[in-house]
């Protein structure tokens, strides 16, 4: 098997995640889909690392994880305060910018 297949898998997961972001209304699920996209990217980085025979790709994936952790912390905090304020976790309810 050619390791390129990992990249195809990565692309597939990324696309599924992105589509999920667009389709779901529950902010938590949307957020999970974003995590899925990040993970797909990480997989690609790890495969690139293997392809080039150095560890820089893995380092990038590592940083991505750290950033993702930070993002999750802040994002979930936002979701919680949003829920407190509106008693709803639906992203469609946060549409005050509508004309």
């Amino acid at each position: 098997m050619n390791p390129v297949n990992y990249l195809y898998l990565s692309a597939l997961l990324f696309t599924i995640g992105a589509t999920g972001v667009l389709l779901r209304r529950n902010a938590i699920v949307v957020f999970m889909c974003v995590e899925l996209m990040l993970n797909a990217c990480n997989l690609a980085f790890v495969v690139f690392s293997r392809m080039h025979g150095n560890l820089d790709g893995q380092i990038i994936a590592f940083f991505t994880m750290v950033v993702a952790a930070a993002e999750v912390v802040v994002g979930l905090a936002i979701i919680v305060s949003l829920f407190r304020a509106r008693h709803s976790a639906s992203v469609d309810d946060a549409s005050l910018m509508k004309l």
């Binding site: 597939l12 889909c33 790890v46 392809m51 979930l76």
Partner: protein, 282 residues
């Protein structure tokens, strides 16, 4: 020997291929389920599964440290955080998958499909023939290799990441922390306030219809059979997790009465004959 090395650079072992196809399928199904499951908690569990599969793939690709971190940090910490929030927001609250924005679903699918096709085309077009493998890079151990890079070449990025994490932690606290601007009311004050307002002096009624249900999410029934919202905790009400069984109870009552009637009627009035044949023919 060199020929096999060359081959090794191009292809993976049969074991890894087998593992890829099986676990890859699991990962894709997990991802799809994440998107498609109606309940957030199910989505979270599916995502956790996908992440564990990815952790295995990291290990297979020579990223041992990342594989462990993926399990410990992602699956262990982040996903648990997700589950906590889901719990806070309401575990059982199920989303309606009905689309409310006109055309959004088709546009999203079209974009997703187009983007996926483009990505696949891009990967297919790229001349990815050379796989060096991580053997040499991991010669001194994967963790040591990563550490050497992080504390030399990427040290600034690493430091900045630390700053980012602290900022995120502070930010999360600021976002979720609600400053109490006044002294908390004492028990006595609350009681006095209740008397002053005169709205509801005694304690709130208890939930549940005794003898049938005693769960906290089921409102008590008023004398006329209608459910009383007042009996359910405010948190549950806001989550929309109030289970209304009043109709069920009334239905049960009606069925009971009917049964009783039928039983009583049988003794009094002979049921019509054709009906019985009808039932028999059924």
């Amino acid at each position: 020997m060199s020929a096999t090395a060359q081959l090794a650079a191009y292809t993976t072992s049969t074991g890894e291929a087998f593992q890829f196809w099986v676990l890859g399928t699991v990962a894709v199904i997990g991802a799809l389920c994440t998107v498609l499951m109606r309940k957030a908690v199910h989505s979270a569990l599916c995502l956790a599964g996908t992440m564990i599969v990815l952790a295995v793939f990291y290990l297979a690709n020579g990223a041992y440290f990342l594989g462990v971190v993926q399990i410990v940090v992602y699956t262990g910490a982040i996903m648990m955080l997700f589950l906590f929030v889901v719990m806070l927001v309401g575990v059982t609250a199920a989303d309606s998958l009905k689309e409310t924005i006109q055309g959004q679903r088709w546009l999203a699918l079209l974009c997703g499909l187009g983007f996926g096709v483009l990505l696949f085309a891009g990967i297919g077009n790229a001349s990815l023939t050379q796989f060096a493998g991580t053997g040499r890079a991991n010669a001194n151990g994967n963790v040591q290799g990563l550490a050497a890079l992080i504390f030399t070449k990427y040290v600034f990025a690493f430091e900045i990441t630390g700053a980012l994490l602290i900022t995120a932690a502070v930010g999360a606290m600021v976002l979720t922390h609600r400053e109490r601007t006044e002294r908390a009311k004492t028990q006595r004050e609350l009681a006095e306030q209740r008397v002053r307002e005169g709205k509801h002096l005694p304690p709130l009624p208890a939930p549940g219809v005794y003898a049938r249900h005693n769960a906290v999410d089921i409102p008590g029934l008023l004398p006329d059979g209608t459910p009383s919202e007042l009996t359910v905790s405010r948190t549950l009400r806001e989550r929309g997790q109030v289970r209304d069984v009043s109709a069920e109870a009334l239905g049960d009552l009606k069925a009971l009465e009917q049964r009783a009637e039928e039983r009583l009627d049988r003794t009094r009035i002979e049921p019509p004959h054709p009906r019985r044949t009808e039932e028999a023919s059924k």
